[in-house]
Amino acid sequence: MKLSVSLTVNGKPVSAEIESRTLLVDFLRDRLRLTGTHVGCDTAQCGACTVLIDGKAVKSCNVLAIQARDRKVTTIEGVATNGTLHPMQAAFKQHHGLQCGFCTPGMVMSAIGLAAENKSPTEAQIREALDGNFCRCTGYHNIVTAVKAGLETMES
């Protein structure tokens, strides 16, 4: 069944005709060509597809595109402004919070989502918040350091 959907993606209004079963991640990647949002597992385990819907971090492989109707979706492509990295991206860069980079967009989006819920989490809380994001390079130490630093910068 075809449905029309209108939503805001990275600040820009988007309208499209989609199959009702279209997943948000496929809509973002295949229709909008925003391939920074990755599909690692397809089953909401790995978190590589994490995006923000109205500021809340969600795994876009388990959300139908139609569920994002009239919502504001933010992907990794939308967090830097005019070429300036988001404080969280800058922190990942500074603290080497990435290796192969595949999980990075999801990590950054989860971390930004965390900022909306808890502005100054403990390390344990950061680790818990990221427990739905897998890094197969196992670079968690620097990721947690980066998230902590990024949250501090966002606070100031």
Binding site: L34, G36, H38, I76, E77, Q89, G101, T104, V108
Partner: protein, 114 residues
């Protein structure tokens, strides 16, 4: 920085004209004996260009090479098991047959540019 801004180009991010996709059907059971692979329905499915099983690979293709061979203390090459590119004899499923079910999204896991 490209990885931080979503500008990486992983294989799954590539879109080429006339691109074809490969779908790898994996065994749900480790090290199981492969009794039979029935590819008839898969080959008959619309849009399918080809279906390959281990039996389609000529012996000359060989297996996956070890990237970093070492030698034993006696100087002999290290012992390694066969690593066939596609399942041959083992490693597919413990069920009596391989049932092809149409994957939900046949294009997702891996792809090869045409």
């Amino acid at each position: 920085v490209r990885f931080l801004t979503g500008a990486g180009q992983y294989t799954d991010d590539v879109t080429l004209a006339n691109q074809t996709y490969a779908y790898f059907l994996r065994s749900p059971h480790a090290h199981a004996r492969l009794r039979k692979v029935d590819t008839r329905r898969a080959k008959a499915a619309p849009g399918v260009l080809a279906v390959f099983t281990g039996e389609d690979l000529p012996a000359s293709v060989g297996g996956l090479p070890c990237g970093w061979l070492i030698t034993g203390t006696d100087g002999k090459p290290m012992k390694e098991p066969k690593h066939p590119l596609l399942a041959q004899g083992k490693c597919a499923t413990s069920a009596t047959r391989w049932r092809w079910s149409s994957p939900r999204r046949p294009c997702r896991p891996r792809m090869r540019p045409s």
